[in-house]
Symmetry: D2
Subunit: 388 residues, 4 copies
């Protein structure tokens, strides 16, 4: 099998050499004083990226674990919960909330659109007994970004808890836990931070802890328990179970990298990559999947597949012929995604994605103007880099 | 802070350079065909180490995750379950089983002893409605090994399911899933395989799958769900969530290393290290924690702390003065553990543990004959290596 | 300073992850039996890539060291030597040959051209007392390839020694030491093998050893001495000085990689990359530096800089704005080079070079059709990959 | 073949994980601005370790290359040179000096002894026309250290140049280029710095440059030329040939590590390791090779092999049975060496050397008291570490 030359998927994404070196650094005992220090340093660095004074919990397990742990911890049977659905991950959260006993209410829009904060406000006005709003910042499968800044403030103003899936947005889009009044937020290091999949980086507000403490159904004595972390790790300096030394090293390294670059600079870099990618898509004669540029995410560009073609075949073709790995829509629709997250939001990486996608479409008989697409993307990059 | 020179803890243990290189190898998309291949290859390699034809499930999350997932999947409320308790991990399993609704029966022995298979047989004779036996092969915190070969056969002969914690034993002690008739076994790669913490490597028998399928309480749509893996991964070739590419690379590498060495050779190497270590302990004038050599584990030697001293202070002293990280008993008693697992079961590593422990005890006023201990350990190693 | 995203220089070139892992593997004592084995294995692998039964000497020091060592060893004062000059490295060899006392004769052509084997044949006919011909296979600075197959055979037929600089050609162009009758050949691992700079990989024929043995001026007791290697290493199994364990690990790894791929497959891959790159250059409205495609090298494409522009400024611009490192001509002329050697001869890497060069030229006011260039390069790659 | 567990040789020595990560970091073009910066930074860091304001030249090639380059550059035919011989490397330098045309005078002592600075002073008094003194600081093969502080000052006071082989001493013993008035010093990174073999790190005084500039025989246009580095690199910012990017990364890393630790702290650490090792040797009933402790080196302990035994067989035995690589005397005598340099001067590493040597001697029938040796070494370490 041909080795991949460029991993331009929607995460896990290609990691930097520095990150890989950290992942390959010696494994120590988890109670070695050096590792204990590293763990605590990393918590503080994650907090700094989240821009929060709240607790940071670093659970082992891909972000889905963190989201499940949070939902299980926060929801009491019968709680009226508003779940916002604009894509695959929002939909899945609704299933969990139902499973965990919530009185579920949803605002749902097509998966190429995003939630209107006004609708959230109206719902909360009419349903003052709502206990929580669950929202996905970036629906990675469809490449859209919802206005969590507004939704967070609307909920906070009414004392309603927020559970935010910011798995793929932090580091690539503005995200302000304290400023926006968010309660539990779950970040995946394998997206805009360019780190390893395998951890859930979470911020937990004081209020969220209180809700969990009072929730008899919140997991306790379980791998899914946030309260175990609170009790054993924060309370006694003892891990509830062996943390993954390897992932922690990787996560500390990507935190260092983004903090050295500056979180704002990283966000600007992701915005520039997304902008160049979208310019290329349009000039190539293709259409982005989201209804408008305004709601398109910074970390990934979703592109509608031309009629008569199938995203899976396109992606296999790009992978086998050109050595470029792209992503599909994971159920969100017939779309192809070019990831530009972490290191792949640098330099000409997005253009490589356009090259592979454009030429693959040509090979399969579609009408695309690859040259024009590439020129537009380069012009966008040139305009930005000239300014710096 | 002084950097550690030797990690001789009871796991996570020091990894080989080859393992670290695998952990630091490029992160790819989890649906990259290369990664899919690697994942499937690794499953087959784990099966080969387990010596089983059954399914292998590689869940993300330290072995505690796998144990919880298995217990949740297998136990139906009201099931009569026999739990064998000879240490900290057996005790914890009982709490889970109770939580999950089992009608719990336990055979418990002091934590320096092991379960007598005859007692298990007698219990099952008297309780023919028992559905499952849960047993820990190696109680790592106390350094003892229970006779799972016999217990497995006793249970299998009666059609009773077995749930086996073989987290720290596989690769260091004989372990034969099919030969012994075991149903669900959970291995941690960070012990005798010398790999990364962060995965649960599990064998699941056909019968165990059937029980889970019929169990309405078995987790479904959860990070803790074995059935999700069966349905989406085995059934549809789709991961239930993003696996940790990094850990999988590390696990494949350690599987390769042990299969190249030969599982039996690896077991012999661990046995030799344990034997040398115990010889040193005795000659030094110390006492191993287990009641007898016959029940001492191969992967770690637990040593009773002399009266008046505290294991924590001894270990801090060894770490700060001599750069050697040892483990404590994690609640099993006032003991210190020298790990000899994976790479640290090689060569003179166990002697380094004796040096650090012995000199630390001397520094703290204990009467130990370090020279005699070292000479005895070397003699044991010399005898073995001379034979080869 | 911005980090480089793509190293598309003319060597050292970007190394594969596997090569980097080998370079970062543990350093052992150079007389450790494992290292001695690795050194000998690597010699045999290099011989296999050279396609020779002759000795292989792996000297420490970038290929310039090997070339100097060879020239010093082979030339006796007064020897009539024919030096072929079609570029910077050929020119430099002439200076050395003069320094070392040769009666130097040169055939020189402009640096965008190559030597005609017919001219060599005519010279040797008229000068039967010629002892050696020195020739550069690929003049990397100007990106041209001379017909060493013919020249080697012409010299061999007359019993004239050949000293061949194949530093950047082996692995990227056909090279057959025994078939072509070559005497001393010097290869640099940092070019088409994608390895570390720091070693000279040399084939030495029996006849060349004899000449050196009889040459009182050949270096002895010196870092530059091939004879020292023969006497101490081949004769006594003792290194004349400490070899670089790190480089040897890297060189063995790149040999493994090319032998697994197949040397012919590697050559085809380099030819395809070069072909795509040249197609792109032409369609973009630029001109390759060599007089004709027929003499252009496989490992690097040299492109004439449009009038009024300077290669240094273009390259700085490409590096700073687009994160792509290109090479200049090192004195061969006002040209820019896109390297496609080792890993960068894979996939879309050459197109990335065209993107960076094209857009930089546009930014600086040149008239280039980047879109057309990219399309032509992609079409070339598509045609090749479709065939496979 | 059994893999080595402990590399306790006399260099190349085991490198730290951080050093290995640096060696495995991406290879860039040598004119990439990042690499140019790294190269210049590293020069300054080496100067800081040398404690000099003079130029630092970092030549490619193991330290033997630097020594040859320096000797060739400094010696004019007929120059009266005093060469000090207390071991293998001093002896070799004399051969070179003769080859290069010096009027050679030597003070030679047995290889278990060192040069008396008084003898140097007397020679220079009687031979005021002496142009240079060549001296080896640490004769690694015999494990002795000569008083270069005094010899340097004696020579400097008379305007006599010094050429100092400090290959294995810097970082492990006090070494002050400017304070001691030394002219050309050659350091090997693979010894007390714990780095890769493959570079010669050199300090060159202004006076030394003048001598070379005026020396018509000094190498020019050669891999062995210091003057090329001066002209092209210092003068024009151009490398005389491609430097080894890999080695430079490794050297910068080890410089960082020693500068973070503090050069004095590193020296103290090596002194402590040597002291513990010698205590162990004596208590074991063995004899160090040097005539007295006062002249024993910090970086390696040479031990006289008991009568009737051969160092090669002992070392093979230790390697095969116990996985420990020790060094022999490289011609200095029937001795075995335990290296404690760089990372192996940490913690219990020297004791591991004693274990392997002692037990191997026992296995071969010698009378050694391993237990007493180990206890004495541990007592020495305990005394030091207790003080800190």
């Amino acid at each position: 099998m041909r080795e991949v030359d460029f991993t331009l998927s929607a995460g896990p994404t290609a990691a930097s050499a520095r990150t890989l070196a950290a992942l390959g650094s010696p494994i120590t005992y988890h109670y070695d004083p050096e590792f204990l220090d590293a763990f605590r340093r990393t918590e503080r660095k994650v907090a700094s990226i989240f821009r929060t004074e709240s607790s940071v919990v670093m659970m082992q397990g891909e972000a889905v674990l963190g989201l499940e742990a949070a939902a299980r911890g926060l929801v009491r049977p019968g709680d009226k919960v508003l779940n916002l659905v604009s894509g695959v991950f929002g939909k899945g959260m609704g299933m969990w909330l139902t499973d965990f006993g919530a009185d579920l209410h949803e605002i749902e829009v097509p998966y190429d659109d995003v939630i209107d904060p006004g609708d959230v406000e109206r719902f909360l006005e009419s349903n003052p007994d709502t206990t929580m709003v669950a929202v996905v910042h970036c629906e990675t499968p469809s490449g859209t970004a919802t206005d969590v800044a507004s939704i967070g403030r609307i909920a906070a103003a009414r004392g309603v808890l927020t559970l935010v899936d910011c798995v793929s947005s932090v580091g690539g889009m503005a995200f302000e836990v304290d400023e926006w009044g968010l309660d539990v937020c779950v970040l995946g290091p394998q997206k805009c931070l360019g780190g390893p999949p395998g951890m859930s980086l979470m911020s937990v507000s004081e209020r969220a802890w209180e809700v969990m403490e009072k929730n008899p159904q919140a997991p306790r004595g379980s791998f899914l328990s946030l309260l175990d972390w609170k009790r054993t790790w924060f309370g006694e300096g003892r891990f509830p179970f062996t943390p993954s030394v390897v992932d922690v090293h990787g996560v500390e390294s990507v935190c260092d990298q983004i903090l050295e670059e500056g979180v704002d600079a990283s966000i600007a870099r992701h915005a520039a990559a997304a902008s160049a990618c979208r310019a290329g898509v349009a000039a190539m004669g293709l259409r982005i999947w989201p209804r408008s540029e305004a709601i398109a995410a910074n970390c990934v560009t979703s592109i509608a597949v031309p009629d008569g073609l199938d995203h899976d075949r396109i992606r296999s073709h790009a992978r086998e012929r050109y050595g470029v790995m792209l992503s599909g829509g994971q159920g969100a629709g017939n779309l192809v995604r070019i990831g530009h997250m972490g290191p792949t939001a640098n330099g000409l990486h997005p253009v490589v994605g356009l090259l592979a996608l454009g030429r693959s479409l040509l090979d399969m008989g579609a009408h695309v103007d690859v040259g024009a697409g590439v020129e537009a993307a380069l012009a966008s990059i040139a305009a930005r880099s000239g300014a710096s």
